[in-house]
Each structure stands twice: as C-alpha cells, then as structure tokens.
C-alpha cells in the first residue's frame, strides 16, 4: 500500500471505537464478568479495590496462555483492538510480567504450563491482580477431567477477578479491566 493510499484509508475510516459504556461501578454485576471465586460482586473484591487505589488508573497486562484453545485470545485481541479499545481505560499489554500489574490468564492450566504460570505470577511485582478469563480458566470448562489438565487457574494461583464465557465477549473483558483501572 502506498503512503497516499494509507493516508486515504485512515481518513476514510476515521474513529471506529464504539462510544465508551458507563463505568462498571454503576452497572449491575453478573451481566458478563462476575467477581469470580470469592463470590463478591459490584465494585469488585476488597483486594481488587485496594490494588485499584494504588494503580492510579494505569494497569499493564501480561497475558499468559496456560493451555487455551485460542478462542479467548481472539476475543482478547478484539478487546484491545480499535472497536473496544481497552487501552482508552488505561490498560496496556506489556511484554514482561515485571512491568505488569495484571496477570491475565486464559485457558485451562495444562501440565507443561503449570510451573511457568506460577513463575509468571511470582515474577509480577506487588500490588498485582490475577485475572482468569474464560470458562476454562475459571473452572476448566469443557476440558474438565482431560488427561493433560492440572486444573483451573484458581487451583494453582490465587485469582482476584474472573470473566465468564466460552469465549467471553470482548466487552466483558473490558469491563473486568476497567474494574482494575477504575476508569
């Protein structure tokens, strides 16, 4: 594509991000993301609220694929894509858990990924949030009992937030991330 074509394309496309929905604090819980393992709802668990106060509206996300079918990955990519634009709420994907505040885990935890998952969470500085995204990550989903599966994310590391769905909708992932950034 020539530079002129690119410029024309950018001009024609304009802004494709959808208007931002209201902040999740105001929305009723249980629509998409639930508050996961500890069963709390609304603003999020006290732990998440404490982390949110220290993050000041900025959450760097390290994504770990613990054994996903890649369905969640596609939705995650959409959540950070132009339409849902999770970045506008202060979330950003980063390359190293050392830079991250959120460890976002997708998929059921397979045997080979159990130790790397633990190491990744350990490599994330405090204060941090572990977020299980998708049914597999929450409770093994359709892979429950399969031979290579160690368990759900919550079986290996403490989970602070989880997003239901197989796969979860990008909007739900965004809502969960907004709970962390508070924006």
């Amino acid at each position: 594509m020539s530079l002129a074509d690119l410029a024309r394309l950018i001009g024609r496309t304009g802004r494709i991000a959808e208007p931002a929905p209201p902040r999740p604090a105001a929305s009723p819980a249980g629509v998409g993301p639930d508050e996961g393992v500890d069963g709390s709802s609304g603003e999020g668990s006290p732990a998440v609220a404490a982390v949110r106060r220290e993050l000041h509206g900025s959450a760097q996300v390290r994504h770990v694929d613990a054994g996903s079918c890649n369905g969640c990955e596609i939705e995650l990519a959409a959540a950070f894509g132009p339409v849902y634009d999770a970045e506008r709420y202060g979330a950003r994907l980063v390359a190293s858990p050392r830079h991250a505040d959120v460890v976002l885990v997708t998929g059921v935890v397979t045997r080979n990924m159990a130790e790397p998952l633990r190491l990744t969470v350990a490599a994330t500085p405090q204060p941090r949030v572990v977020m299980a995204v998708g049914d597999c990550a929450r409770d093994c989903g359709m892979f429950r009992g399969a031979y290579g599966v160690v368990g759900a994310v919550g079986d290996l590391v403490p989970v602070d937030l989880s997003v239901a769905g197989c796969p979860p909708a990008p909007a739900d992932i965004v809502v969960a991330l907004r709970r962390v950034t508070g924006r």
Partner: protein, 315 residues
C-alpha cells in the same frame, strides 16, 4: 559561573521533566487516533509513571548492585542532558558550554548504564538487547559527530547554544544545503538513539525483535520508572534539539522571565508538532530487519558527510 544561565538550565530540566511524559502521551495518542482508536489520553504515561514509582521492585537473585545503580545513573544522564542542550534558551554555561562532545558523552553514559543493566539481569534477552543497543550506538556516533562538524563550520564552535543562536539570528543558514543535510542525518540518529521505528519498535511484544525493551524486561517497579522517565526525557530533549535546529525561533536569548516563558511555550509547541509528526511517520512504517539498520545508519553518515562537503562549497 554566573547564576543566570545556571538558573535557566534548571528551568530547562524542570520543563523537560514535565513535558517528557506528555511527549510520549502525544505520540501514543496520535497513533491511537490514526488507528481509529480513542486512546488513553496524553496523561497516561504520567499515570503509568506515578503507579510504577509506588510498586515494589523485584530484583532477581544473583544480580549485582548495578541493577540498582544503573537506572539512577541513566536518569541523571538524561537530566544533565536536559540542562546542557539548548531547549528553552540558548545560553551557554560558562564552564560547560553545552559543547556537542560533552552532550554526546553524557548521552552515552546513559546508553552504557542501560546496556549494563540489561547484561546484569543474567537472562538471554537482556544480553541480546544490550549487544544490539551498543552496536547501534557505536554506528550512530560517526554520523552525530560529522553532522555537527558540518553545523559547526559556519559558526566556528561546537557549542550547541551558539549553533542554535546563530541559526536563529541568520535564518538563511537553516535552508542551506549543509544545514538541511546535517539536520536530516541528525534526525535519523535521534530515532536510532531513542529506539523508535524503523530501528526499534517501542511497543513490540516479541522478544527476539526487541532492542530497548529487551534490556528492561527484567526491570520492575521504581527501577523501571526511572528507566522509563529517562528514556522519555532522552527522546524529548533530542526532539527538542532537532526542533530548535529546524525552527530556532522563540529560543530565549536572555535569562529574563519573559523570554524564558516564551521559550518554554515555544518548546512545548515544537515538541507537540514533532511528536505528532513522529507518530504519523511511525504508523506508515515497519521496523527494519536488524542487519539492515547498519545500511540506514551508513546512509545517514553519507548525508552528514555530504553536509560537510556542501558547507565547504558554500564557505
């Protein structure tokens, strides 16, 4: 050393520290807008920084004190850079007159500090980034020195404040072939030194393509905050220098509050312009393969050498 230039230097440092996160914010915001996104707003890097300062750093077992020291050294070198380069005002300090060689070596102290930080982590990626970073820094140096040699010929001095002041007072020299070629060569090396496209992709997640990011993969918390702030300062100061060489108007010639304020505003304007321009160009560009980078840098060296030749022809 008289107090006025020193005071102006401190003002410059303050202005640069305030503007640096905003410059990054503007580039990210511009990029977001061009990609059809809303973007996090220009204040986001400042928020990131505030958060990072409050986090608990993790330092791997087996690292040396270098891991603690290097980010602070890097930050100091960037702050010193902001004091030496003519950003708000072109007033040379009496004993360290913003001499180009001094500026480059202060910059290189930061370069070396981050390279050692990368090595000290003891991971494969840190060493890889460090090695690439230093190789590029080595190849950049001939271009920088020869380009400034070309710029210094008409002025008769390598002090950056004097070069900027001379261009402000004789705008014809900005459009001279030597001046244009030298500034283009400098702009390329600024991109290389600050890890921007097409030399390095600041937002890459693929470790094997990283240069700058690979060195800081191991750095966290406040250590990372210093490294980030220092890198942003570097980008802002060098962009500010290129801006002041291209558009030297508004740079204060005295230490009076009026001109200094005007200079700060002019600097903010120039930086905003260059940040938008940088982000726009980056959207249209892919990263070069690592081993094509030397070709680009050799090209910029030829431009700088052409600038020297052109300045001889004019003189």
């Amino acid at each position: 050393m008289s107090a006025a230039p020193l005071l102006v230097a401190l003002v410059q440092v303050t202005v640069a520290v305030v503007l640096a996160p905003l410059v990054i914010g503007v580039t990210r915001q511009t990029r977001a807008r061009l990609e059809g996104r809303v973007g996090p707003g220009v204040l986001q890097p400042a928020r990131d920084l505030r958060k990072l300062i409050g986090k608990t750093p993790l330092r791997a077992a087996g690292t040396s004190p270098m891991t603690v020291v290097a980010p602070v050294v890097l930050l100091t070198s960037s702050l010193l850079l902001a004091a030496l380069v003519p950003l708000v005002a072109a007033l040379p300090l009496a004993l360290v007159p913003g001499d180009l060689f001094v500026v480059v070596s202060v910059l290189l102290v930061g370069t070396v500090a981050i390279a050692l930080l990368g090595l000290d982590g003891g991971s494969a990626f840190g060493g890889m980034g460090s090695s690439r970073h230093m190789t590029i820094a080595a190849l950049v140096e001939p271009t920088v020195l020869v380009a400034v040699y070309a710029l210094s010929i008409p002025v008769g001095s390598s002090a950056l404040p004097l070069i900027v002041a001379a261009r402000r007072d004789h705008p014809a020299s900005i459009a001279s072939p030597a001046g244009v070629l030298a500034v283009v060569a400098l702009a390329i090396v600024v991109l290389a030194e600050t890890g921007r496209l097409p030399i390095d992709n600041p937002s890459t997640h693929l470790e094997l393509t990283m240069i700058h990011e690979a060195m800081v993969l191991e750095t966290s918390g406040r250590d990372l905050a210093w490294v980030d702030l220092a890198s942003w300062l570097r980008l802002s100061v060098l962009l500010g220098l290129v801006g002041n060489l291209l558009l030297p108007w508004g740079v204060a010639g005295s230490a009076a509050p009026g001109p200094v304020l005007l200079g700060a505003l002019a600097l903010a304007g120039k930086l905003a312009l260059l940040a938008v321009l940088l982000a726009t160009v980056e959207v249209a560009m892919a990263k070069l393969r690592l081993f094509r980078v030397p070709e680009l840098l050799a090209g910029s060296f030829v431009l700088a050498f052409l600038a020297v030749t052109a300045s001889y022809l004019v003189a």
